[in-house]
């Protein structure tokens, strides 16, 4: 997904002279082809995220479209004031591409996990927050990003994620995709959890429970219309996210439903508790710890319906 995203930056830069790439201190050879082809629009600026964001803002003020890439916690909390003031106050078309969203960097411990990124990025006026489900959907997002007016936070998943999106999805920033029709249950997910929810829906179907999956790739602006249309009439609404329960997708969905006056069905929010992670392992093992694997999601749904 990361390579797809960055290769798309190169492709966008080929067709639009406003596009520039800024990295901090990324892996050897990152976007080598772009650097070779258009060195004047390729910047690798070192471990200085505050400067990278301010610099991107300055470029955007003069009409460029900077795509900035580094590891998720360092592009969010490390330079939060620069993102807020330099980018969001000016409502600039800066794109923040965040490697290793959620618990992807599980082996590296809590300093490298982005488990509060949805909360803090969606709290910023003007900022869009997007977490697609696979590399194919990433291509569609990158195409859509070019002409989006304001800033965008793009959370990358692990890479090599199974492709569950479709060319016919009519991908639009801010418009949810219904992956499976709901019955008694509607699960709403984003990023890598959508694939888990689809599997959970299969497991539930075998048990005779119809569970829908709404892929909310855009956490902000949230697709309230889809929620208003799909939530009423369900016995259970489940939100599933690779993020703290505080302030993420589940919070955003409940805010939207309450503000719109939708009568809430029973709700289960699945995500990480109010705690820094205490173990290493892998993204999958973290999912298991926090009850986010498909079988666990299905069990939670069955228990909630019982």
């Amino acid at each position: 997904m990361r390579n797809t995203s960055l290769n798309k930056v190169h492709e966008l830069a080929q067709k639009d002279s406003r596009v520039v790439f800024i990295g901090s201190d990324l892996g050897v050879g990152t976007l080598k082809a772009m650097k070779a082809e258009m060195p004047e629009r390729f910047f690798m600026e070192g471990v200085a995220e505050q400067n990278v964001i301010g610099m991107a803002a300055g470029m955007a003020m003069d009409g460029l479209i900077p795509y900035v890439n580094t590891i998720a916690p360092f592009i969010t909390r490390r330079c939060y004031e620069q993102v807020a003031v330099d980018v969001c106050v000016h409502n600039l078309p800066v794109r923040l591409i965040a490697n290793g969203g959620g618990v992807v960097y599980a082996p590296l411990g809590p300093t490298h996990l982005a488990i509060e990124d949805f909360a803090i990025m969606r709290a910023l006026p003007n900022m869009a927050v997007v977490a697609v489900s696979d590399a194919e959907e990433m291509k569609r997002l990158m195409d859509a990003s070019l002409d989006w007016k304001g800033p965008i936070y793009i959370r990358l998943a692990k890479g090599g994620d199974p492709v569950i999106s479709q060319p016919t999805d009519d991908f639009k920033i801010g418009k949810a995709i219904l992956r499976r029709e709901p019955g008694r249950v509607l699960m709403v997910s984003t990023g890598a959890t959508t694939e888990r929810c689809l599997k959970a829906a299969d497991i539930l179907a075998e048990a005779g429970i119809t569970a829908g999956v709404l892929h909310m790739h855009t956490v902000k602006p949230l697709d309230c219309e889809a929620l208003k249309a799909l939530v009423p009439g369900r016995d259970l609404l489940v939100t599933v996210e690779e993020h703290l329960l505080a302030g993420g997708l589940g919070s955003a969905i409940l805010e939207c439903l309450v503000d719109c006056g939708v009568t809430l069905p029973k709700v289960k929010r699945l995500g990480l508790p109010d705690s820094f992670t205490k173990e290493y392992g892998s993204q999958d093992s973290m999912f298991e710890t926090y009850g986010l694997k498909a079988e666990q999601i299905a069990t939670t749904v069955r228990t909630a319906l019982a």
């Binding site: 520039v20 004047e40 629009r41 910047f43 600026e45 070192g46 200085a48 505050q50 400067n51 964001i53 301010g54 610099m55 991107a56 803002a57 300055g58 470029m59 955007a60 003020m61 003069d62 009409g63 460029l64 900077p66 004031e81 620069q82 003031v85 330099d86 106050v89 000016h90």
Partner: protein, 285 residues
């Protein structure tokens, strides 16, 4: 601490020199803003007046009728709390009406206690949170290079402001990119909010620090109009290094009882007596 330089000594004695009419006029505009809002960063707004005066009068290319003209030079007041200094020049050059100064910090004004780019013609970047302007300036200087424009970027920072680590990240970047179209100016008045900079966070040797980051670092008396004028005229904007100008200034310059006084960094409510005293002192300066 380094030996006090001759320039620094001269600047410390600047208050002994009378202000010329233009410098006095611009300070009157600052006072109009202060009186309009009943508050403001008086010390911080008075110290960079001659720097801004020379930039706007003689150096920068701009068009008040077309504030977004692509070929303009960019000016960022990174020490946004000193905004009355910039507002004075924007009024003087016709970007905004003089009456606007009377609305400073009031509910429906375009002029807040920190400058906002989306409200004020001629303001490039909203500033106020310290340590942001130089990075934005680096981005603008690079954008000019990408877009093959010869625009230059001038960033004025406070001395307290450069305590921020982000300033030195930006300095590293400007040095790396050899941004000769970028001029970083430190309004070195030796006082920050709490006390003298030597007490809070000593900065010396300041030119050496900027030079170590790849800048041509030059000291100047920041109230000496002729010296500033000559300096900006002789800069190599097409060379291979960014420039740092360490401008030695006097905080509160023009209002003698505020000069060198940490307590006059900011006032959030003037007494009637203070208002009268400020206006009178300026006329005698």
């Amino acid at each position: 601490m380094s030996q006090e330089s001759a320039i620094r000594q001269a600047a410390r004695q600047a208050e002994a020199r009378p202000l010329d009419n233009r410098s006095k006029h611009l300070r009157r505009l600052v006072v109009e803003g202060l009186l309009g809002g009943g508050r403001g960063h008086i010390g911080s707004s008075m110290s960079p007046i001659e720097i801004l005066r020379v930039l706007y009068d003689e150096v920068m290319r701009f068009d008040p009728a077309q504030p977004k003209w692509t070929g303009r030079d960019r000016f960022i007041l990174s020490k946004g709390h000193g905004c009355l200094a910039q507002y004075a020049l924007l009024v003087d050059k016709g970007f905004i009406a003089r009456e606007t100064l009377g609305t400073f910090c009031k509910k429906d004004s375009i002029l807040g206690g920190h400058p906002e780019a989306n409200k004020i013609p001629g303001v490039e970047a909203s500033t106020g949170a310290l340590g942001h302007g130089l990075s934005i300036g680096v981005g603008m200087a690079l954008a000019a290079r990408v877009q093959k424009r010869d625009s230059r970027v001038f960033v004025v920072m406070g001395d307290g402001e450069i305590n921020e680590g982000s300033v030195w990240e930006a300095a590293m970047s400007a040095g790396k990119h050899r941004l000769s179209n970028l001029v970083a100016i430190v309004d070195y008045n030796k006082i920050q909010s709490y006390a003298f900079t030597d007490e809070v966070q000593p900065l010396d040797p300041l030119p050496e620090k900027w030079a170590a980051f790849g800048f041509d670092a030059i000291e100047v008396d920041g109230h000496d109009v002729e010296a500033l004028s000559k300096l900006f005229r002789e800069l190599r904007y097409d060379g291979d290094k960014p420039t740092a100008i360490i401008a030695h200034t006097v905080k509160g310059r023009g209002v003698p009882f505020a000069e060198h006084q940490p307590s006059w960094h900011h006032k959030n409510k003037f007494t009637d007596e203070e208002v009268r005293a400020i206006a009178a002192a300026l006329e005698d300066a």
